[in-house]
């Protein structure tokens, strides 16, 4: 899909809502340690804020059990966390992050069974969109917002529906979703999100230079994207999850009324309760859907 039209962005002011992945299971097994990545990321935030004095950064932590706002560069509460060794904003961010992690830990219920689970990406994406809506309605002059996802956890197929809904609403509000995936495998959701909303997706090869990746690709504001070339992915993984078991599927059955995807043929669609049209009410058509890997 074409990137967001540049005529909307006459100015190079950034309003970036960053979704930072704080899934402890992922970080404890990642090649890049959390503290290292934090330093890259915090420096990146500062760099954005220095690019233009009107720039704004909002950080939402994507936790394992919950999500929360950690940082808003436009708020005045940042003064209270003074720490001589680093910029004020960073220290306040770290403070809030710590508090968030404590809360998140308390919400944990069951012991993990050895596999890395996904973080609540759908929740933080929805929170980001709500914040953006609030900005839209605030009436004040604001730069056009975009969302940046720093994810490492694998995709949770059970979140497919929620994530797709969020992606479509972002598309509708013309909010590009950029994504930087630092995990091991590929994330289909992030690729689809960036493709559909006109953002840029990248999976860094060399995690030691994460800061460089962030500065080269993700610091570009929306106006400059009309003339600055960003790396294009080779293909987009469009696989969907089935609605009954939340497995990722290539071929499935689709309800002709509500377009819900199922891996087996059902008599009745569980989402909309029926199949109107030629068949009797409540029966599903024998329509089949095959989802191909498409190149842009």
């Amino acid at each position: 899909m074409a990137s967001a039209p540049s005529k909307l962005y006459a100015d190079d002011v950034n309003l970036v809502v960053v979704l930072l992945d704080t899934n402890p299971f992922f970080w404890s097994s990642s090649s890049l340690s959390f503290s290292q990545s934090l330093s890259h990321v915090l420096a990146f935030f500062n760099a954005i804020l220095t690019l233009n004095q009107l720039n704004q950064v909002v950080v939402i932590a994507t936790g394992y059990n919950s999500c929360d706002y950690i940082f808003d560069s436009a708020s005045d509460l940042n003064r209270s966390y003074e720490n001589g060794r680093m910029p004020v904003m960073s220290s306040s961010l770290l403070q809030k992050l710590e508090e968030f992690l404590i809360k998140d830990e308390q919400l944990s219920k069951e012991e993990p069974d050895g596999r890395i689970k996904s973080s609540l990406f759908s929740g933080s994406l929805s929170m980001a969109l709500c914040h953006i809506q609030r900005v839209f309605r605030s009436g004040a002059l604001h730069p056009h917002p975009r969302i940046l996802c720093l994810q490492g956890s694998p995709d949770g197929p059970e979140q497919y529906v929620a994530i797709m809904n969020a992606i479509f609403s972002a598309q509708r509000s013309e909010v590009p979703i950029d994504s930087c995936y630092i995990g091991a495998q590929n994330s289909a959701f992030l690729q689809q999100a960036s493709y559909i909303t006109g953002g840029v997706h990248h999976k860094p090869q060399n995690l030691d230079g994460l800061f460089q990746y962030l500065m080269t690709i993700f610091a570009t504001d929306l106006h400059s994207r009309s003339f600055i070339h960003l790396p294009k992915p080779v293909g987009v993984d469009f696989r969907a999850s089935c609605f009954c078991h939340k497995n990722t599927i290539d071929m499935g059955y689709i309800c002709c009324v509500c377009l819900s995807i199922f891996c087996k043929q059902h008599k009745k669609c569980s989402t909309c309760g029926g199949c109107a049209g030629q068949k009797k009410r409540g029966q599903m058509c024998d329509c089949r859907l095959e989802i191909l890997h498409l190149s842009p």
Binding site: F34, L38, S108, V161, Q212
Partner: protein
């Protein structure tokens, strides 16, 4: 006195030039009209008319001589051509020159030119390179036959495009066939697909068109043409042609004009139905009609009254049209008071001369019998305009006046039957009145039973699936090995918090990123960006396809659409329940296997700089075909094992 008036007014009628005025005494007597009524399809040349007639009837019969070779003197006889075959019967039943050939075998025709000295010959060649030579009596006969043969050959050329296999389970109407052919002719892509699959037997006509019902419906609805309305020019303006020498005035009446006359003047229509052919011939009828028109145009009501007194049929044309008057009254009665409260009985004036307004301002009606014969221009114009706006009641083309009159009468009868009887209309009007006069605020509230709102709770959707997902989401993505994390919750969270505190304590790492790493990253990124730019093009919107040579692009797109078509039918046939589906699936699978070599060919024909992109484009096509063929083979396997298990040969 009135003769003088007549003379003076003739010049305004435009029929006679001034020289005629020297024959005043003879004027009224020598008025004669010659009428010529042409058939509706009359065009320039007579032979054309003939051909239309023959094509319509599908038959041409001519006297001719049949020669087997040029030197042969020829056997005289009759040549008879129908749409199917050529038949030659010699005059002498004993001679051997009889010929009976079907048009299917005729390949072409040659003929001798009119201007040359050669006799009129027509040479029909057949498929086996034999020829039949016919000598005609004159060139116009030759022309007719030549046109006929040409038309039949053209038609048969079209016919061969239609599918030749008869489908016993499909009863197609001719209109349906026409629609399909039209669609095929308009859309070349569709035609290519059709040719590729249907004519080679992979898909049947029915299957091909089953998925395209929407296209056909759209075509069908387009076909319902708008009806041509009447011309805006007024009929009474038809200028007759004059013949100075014989004082004859000739009016040309086509059924079109007649239809318009009948539509505008219902009294004339009624008179026609009642008088012709019982009381007078059609010619007389029109003669009287045009006489009446002439009298009207002279605006001499006294003369009109005088003539009307003599001739009662003429009087019909001269009087006011009483049908119109009664129609106007009926319309007034039908006016809906909720729409137009001011309409009342005094409003039926459209049939009165001058709309009931008297020019001199005197309000009294001068009762003179001459008033009855007056007609004003405004009446005519309004009536004509009303008829044009109403539209054409009858749509077909007619050959003669009688047919027109009857068709118009029929349509009028139908429309009056459709209109309800008086009782019904008044009841309906009362209903409507009562509904419109209700004031909503003053009504009581009607509490309709409301259906309770039922929204599925989305929480079940997301939460309950979580348990399932956690159980089953193993290698959901790509099958690469999952990184295991064997620590407990406590451990991971504490390790995270440690990292945070360590940063807080020590500040950021110095330097944040090593210069070598940054340099490497930057290099890699710029390389990849410039490579893609080189490969794909500066414009990110530009697609790979546009850079390929045009022929390759079209072939690729065509193959893709044919793959889609095949796959659509393939997947729709599963699960296989009947033997028909089984055969169909086999055919489709063969067609799909044939596509692989086509793709290879395309890949080979492309210049080397595009080869990579073409292979990228071709990959999804391969994948789709592979998936389908895999499924086919798996189901074949299942079938064979199943049938193997059934011991008694039960299939």
């Amino acid at each position: 006195m009135h003769l003088l008036n007549l003379i003076l007014q003739t010049s305004s009628f435009g029929v006679f030039t001034s020289s005629r005025l020297f024959f005043p005494l003879r004027l009224p007597a020598t008025f004669s009209f010659a009428l010529q009524i042409f058939p509706s399809r009359s065009t320039i040349s007579f032979s054309h008319y003939n051909i239309h007639k023959t094509m319509a009837s599908g038959l041409v019969t001519k006297r001719a001589k049949y020669k087997t070779t040029i030197k042969d003197p020829g056997t005289p006889g009759h040549l008879r051509m129908t749409l199917e075959k050529i038949l030659f019967m010699p005059h002498n039943p004993k001679s051997a020159g009889k010929l009976d050939v079907e048009f299917r075998y005729i390949k072409g025709q040659k003929h001798t030119k009119e201007g040359s000295n050669k006799p009129p010959w027509l040479n029909l060649t057949n498929n086996q390179n034999g020829s039949f030579i016919f000598e005609f009596e004159n060139y116009s006969d030759l022309q007719d036959c030549r046109d006929f043969v040409g038309k039949v050959l053209a038609k048969s050329g079209e016919v061969s495009e239609k599918p030749t296999v008869a489908y016993p389970d499909e009863q197609l109407s001719a209109a349906e066939m026409e629609l399909r052919i039209k669609l095929l002719q308009e859309d070349s892509e569709l035609q290519k697909l059709h040719k590729q699959f249907v004519l080679s037997g992979v898909l049947t006509e029915a299957e091909f068109w089953a998925t395209r019902k929407k296209l056909l419906d759209r075509e069908a609805s387009k076909k319902m043409k708008q009806r041509l309305g009447f011309k805006s020019a007024m009929v009474s303006d038809i200028k007759p042609s004059t013949d100075g020498r014989t004082n004859k005035v000739t009016f040309n009446l086509t059924p079109e004009i007649i239809l318009q006359i009948f539509a505008e003047k219902p009294a004339v229509h009624r008179a026609f139905l009642s008088y012709v052919p019982n009381k007078m011939s059609e010619r007389n009828f029109w003669t009287k009609y045009f006489r009446a028109e002439y009298l009207h145009s002279t605006k001499n009501s006294i003369a009109a009254a005088a003539e009307a007194a003599e001739d009662e049929e003429l009087a019909v044309f001269l009087k006011q049209d009483d049908i119109l008057a009664s129609e106007a009254r009926k319309k007034i009665r039908r006016v809906d008071p909720t729409l137009d409260m001011e309409a009342d009985e005094g409003d039926d004036y459209t049939h009165l001369p001058d709309h009931g307004i008297f020019r001199d301002g005197n309000k009294e009606m001068t009762e003179s019998q001459n008033e009855l014969y007056k007609r004003t221009l405004s009446q005519d114009i309004n009536r004509h305009a009303a008829v044009v706006l109403e539209g054409r009641a009858v749509d077909a083309e007619f050959e003669d006046t009688k047919a027109v009159a009857e068709a118009l009468a029929q349509s009028k009868r139908e429309s009056s039957n459709k209109g309800e009887s008086d009782g019904d209309t008044s009841r309906e009007r009362l209903d409507r009145l009562s509904r419109m006069t209700e004031i909503e605020d003053l009504q009581g509230s009607n509490n309709l039973p409301l259906a309770p709102l039922c929204i599925k709770d989305p929480r079940d959707y997301f939460d309950s699936q979580q348990a399932n997902a956690l159980r089953t989401s193993g290698d959901a993505l790509g099958g690469t090995e999952q990184i295991k994390c064997s620590l407990s919750i406590l451990e991971v969270y504490s390790s995270l918090r440690e990292s945070i505190s360590s940063i807080k304590a020590m500040g950021w790492k110095e330097p944040i990123v090593k210069p070598e790493a940054a340099h490497q990253v930057f290099d890699a990124l710029t390389n990849s960006i410039s490579n893609t730019k080189h490969n794909i093009g500066k414009n990110p919107q530009e697609s790979v396809l546009d850079r390929l040579p045009r022929k390759t692009k079209e072939e690729l797109l065509h193959i893709w659409t044919s793959i889609l078509e095949l796959l659509k039918h393939f997947w729709a046939s599963y699960p296989i329940t009947t033997s028909y589906l089984y055969a169909k699936v086999n055919r489709l699978k063969d067609a799909m296997s044939n596509i692989y070599p086509q793709l290879e060919e395309i890949k080979g024909s492309v210049p080397s700089e595009f080869r990579h992109q073409v292979s990228l484009l071709v990959r999804p096509m391969h994948q789709a075909l592979d998936a389908a063929i895999q499924h086919y083979e798996a189901s074949m396997q299942k079938r064979s094992t199943q049938s193997g298990e059934k011991p008694n040969g039960y299939v």
